[in-house]
């Protein structure tokens, strides 16, 4: 299923020499920067920059009725917007499939790793629980939105401080000195396969030549908590093994940026 296009041929030739269009090595990330507390109105927020890709995540807390099947658990929800201001390829309107997939992959990383102890977010069983909504918005899309979004989401949760709650009303102006019950840092790393080569932190121009991608979300002890394969081309289990190895290594590096 290889597409005969000149961009892809050019990228493959460079990869054979161990180089990317911007001179990076195959498993090299662009500079990563995390800035906390960027939105005073969010309970927790962070901006993550990976090269020129920039993503902001904001966490808002509210008190809701728990879901009937989990009466003693708080709620976590993740939403993502690929904003038109961040790239000429995004249009205004409700989230398309790319935004939906991004949100769901980040959501599963957070949820399946049990990074947030949802039981500790219970205020009154069956009646009141804290609900955490994480919204991820792109500011500039220069590729690798998955990893930037995942990192921003966990950073926003780390930054979050619970507002005061007197049992009747939430006072957003006055913060408590309580943080969210976060015990893990799930990090998504997206590894891409172009021909026989594996790269990380793809630029948008590399994405169009990608055969397959695997987003691997792991916690610090090497446990995989979420996998998502994308791309039009099928992969072997040997490929999967290699991609997981690469992601475990890169996750260590990314986790240190938090």
């Amino acid at each position: 299923m290889s597409k005969k296009n000149p961009v892809r041929e050019h990228i493959l030739k460079a990869l054979e020499k161990g180089v990317r269009p911007d001179g990076r090595a195959l498993t090299e990330y662009r500079p990563v920067e995390v800035t906390y507390g960027v939105s005073k109105t969010a309970e927790g927020s962070a901006i993550v920059k990976i090269g020129e890709t920039e993503v902001v995540a904001g966490a808002k807390l509210s008190i809701e009725v728990p879901f009937p099947d989990t009466p003693d658990e708080g709620i976590i929800m993740v939403n993502a917007e690929l904003l038109p201001l961040s790239s000429p390829r995004f249009e205004a309107g409700p989230p398309g499939i790319e935004a939906v997939e991004l949100a769901r992959v980040v959501d599963r990383g957070l949820r399946e790793s049990k990074a947030l102890d949802l039981k500790k977010l219970c205020i009154k069983k069956g009646e009141k629980v804290w609900s955490v909504s994480v919204d991820i918005c792109t500011l500039n899309d220069a590729g690798n939105l998955f990893d930037a979004a995942g990192l921003a989401a966990i950073a926003a949760l780390q930054d979050a401080v619970l507002p005061s709650y007197d049992g009747a009303e939430i006072d957003y102006e006055n913060k408590s000195n309580e943080r969210l019950p976060l015990s893990k840092t799930p990090i998504p790393i997206t590894v891409l396969k172009i021909g026989d080569h594996f790269i990380v932190d793809a630029l948008q121009e590399e994405m169009t030549s990608v055969d397959a991608r695997l987003t691997v979300t792991t916690t610090a002890d090497g446990t995989i908590c979420s996998l998502q394969k994308g791309g039009d081309v099928a992969v072997t289990t040997a490929d999967i093994g290699k991609m997981i190895d690469i992601s475990l290594e890169q996750a260590k590096m990314l986790r240190e940026k938090l």
Binding site: M1, V100, E112, G222, I224, Q228, V233, I244
Partner: protein, 238 residues
């Protein structure tokens, strides 16, 4: 390794009973019914046909468009409002990616092959059942294909690797990993891989091998469904 006896009594590598039939929806160009345990999927293929809106047309090849949907009464809990939710959109997309490597649509420029998957009843493994049904339906429609695609979930419950998780196992009150896969036997490749839960790399790779084995079993059932239809309706051919 506390999960030694499966909730429904199956062995570790045992898949649920399967019923598969081709050509069940008469209006469609190709169709299938695929039931695995209590999960039931219908798939219907319409195409190749003209693609609208025109801006989506690709002059170099036909495109594959998949639509997965659970009927409002198909879930284990409350009724689900009709209309595609985010989960269904994502499953539609990964279903398309699962089937794409085996179909050859170069002969149909500007056209679309639409695959509709609908489930009236589910007990976990719905996206996999959908992919199995879609695979049969595409072949039934005469779409040029390099192979069939088979799909099943593998996973772990409390450390034990199992094949074809049902709802009770997915929701089990212990450490669970749920891994839906789609497999192309002729190239030994996976075209769908997702995972929710907690697993180590080594256990994952072990589970994937069991998954492939199960897929090889299932593909024989898919082939049989196609053979049965064409043997019986011999005089309808052409």
């Amino acid at each position: 390794m506390a999960y030694t006896k499966r909730v429904d009594g199956r062995k570790q590598k045992e898949i649920r009973p399967i019923t598969a039939q081709a050509g069940v929806i008469k209006n469609a160009d190709g169709s299938a019914y695929f039931k695995i345990g209590n999960t039931v999927a219908y798939a219907a293929v319409y195409g190749p046909r003209e693609l609208h809106p025109k801006f989506m047309q690709d002059p170099s090849t036909g495109i594959l468009r998949c639509n997965y949907n659970m009927m409002p009464f198909a879930g284990m809990g409350n009724r689900v409002r009709p209309g595609q939710n985010r989960r269904a959109k994502e499953i539609s997309m990964v279903t398309e990616k699962a089937l794409l490597p085996v179909v050859d649509l170069k002969e149909f420029p500007n056209a679309v092959v639409d695959v509709f998957i609908e489930l009236p009843q589910t007990d976990a493994g719905s996206r996999c059942a959908g992919i199995c049904a879609a695979s049969i339906a595409l072949a039934d429609a005469g779409i040029p294909m390099k192979d069939l695609v088979s799909a099943v979930s593998v996973g772990t419950v409390d450390g034990t690797i199992i094949v074809d998780l049902d709802y009770m196992e997915e929701a089990y009150d212990a450490s669970v990993a749920d891994i839906p896969i789609a497999y192309i036997p002729s190239t030994d490749e996976l075209s769908l891989l997702q995972m929710d839960g907690e697993i180590t790399k080594d256990t994952l790779l072990e589970a994937l091998e069991l998954g492939k084995q199960a897929c090889r079993e299932i593909i024989e059932i898919q082939k049989k469904a196609l053979k049965e239809k064409y043997l019986v309706s011999g005089e309808e051919n052409e």
